[in-house]
Amino acid sequence: MTLQEKNNEEDSPRFRPGDLVTVRVDNPGGHFRTPTYIQGQSGRIEKLCGIFPNPESLAYGGTGLPAQPLYRVEFPQSQVWSDYGGPAKDKIYVDVYQHWLEPLST
């Protein structure tokens, strides 16, 4: 596969470690991998995990293309759960595909 072909088959990473993002609220129907408890939450990009075919397409026999960058996103537990009982520094990390993420609007 040439580099050009590769670029047509996957979306380029839009975010870098440290970027603040918001997870979109959506219900595309069928199979998706973004847990609802994290939708609408804002977090910080921890790292790019790789670029993977989109499972929402793969699940129904599709090609999964364009492949999506997958990020590990960090959220403070006390932000996600209003009644979280542990220390404020506790965190939760969720792997989220790029098409679910938007830059945090300030």
Binding site: I38, G50, P55, L70, Q77, P87, D90, Y93, D95
Partner: protein, 228 residues
Amino acid sequence: MTSNIGNGNDPSQAGHSGHDHAEHPGMAHDEEAGYYAVRARAMESLLVEKGICSPNEIQTMVDRIEARSPADGAKVVARAWSDPAYKSRLLNDPDGALADLGYRMPENSPKLDVVENTESIHYLVVCTLCSCYPRNLLGRPPDWYKSLAYRSRAVVDPRGVMREFGFQVPDSTEVRVLDSTADLRYLVLPRRPDGTEGMSEEQLAELITRDSMIGVSEARSPQTATAS
């Protein structure tokens, strides 16, 4: 999951208008099978009929997972505890480090990531959406890992869940829950217990439990291991 499909390519069996089990080859003699076994076999039949995979491929994957157990993960962790260079490789290039010990991850297997528990940071792994687990190294996950109770409570109250596993995490330690919902699988590298200086890798491996590699508890102390 067992593979007992029979001839899945018989065109006369390919109708999908109804769901009479006798339609699916290999299932007619299975009156004792439970709901999930029947469902798994129906899915296998469909995958084979549609040419997505062969019975051999399914059986090969089942055999590969059945051949692995937490003892395999324990060997890897014991090596990492004993050899700082290996530990560094395991954290930075998990597939390469596993291959060093003879564990070659099959093609198309989900990417493995290894996280290290320390005095200041404690990782715990859950898959809230299903039961993602590093099966190619640790074998099948325990039933509780797949339970709705664990999957929902591990994210909301990880410290409470760990207490129920007999592990009290001090408030000075940051708890990090990893929800492996996508294409990565996580292996936790537990902390090496105190009082284990001079122990061989074989002795160390005895201290490394499945639960400590999921992160719901820590490795056993040598005292506990001797007592049990």
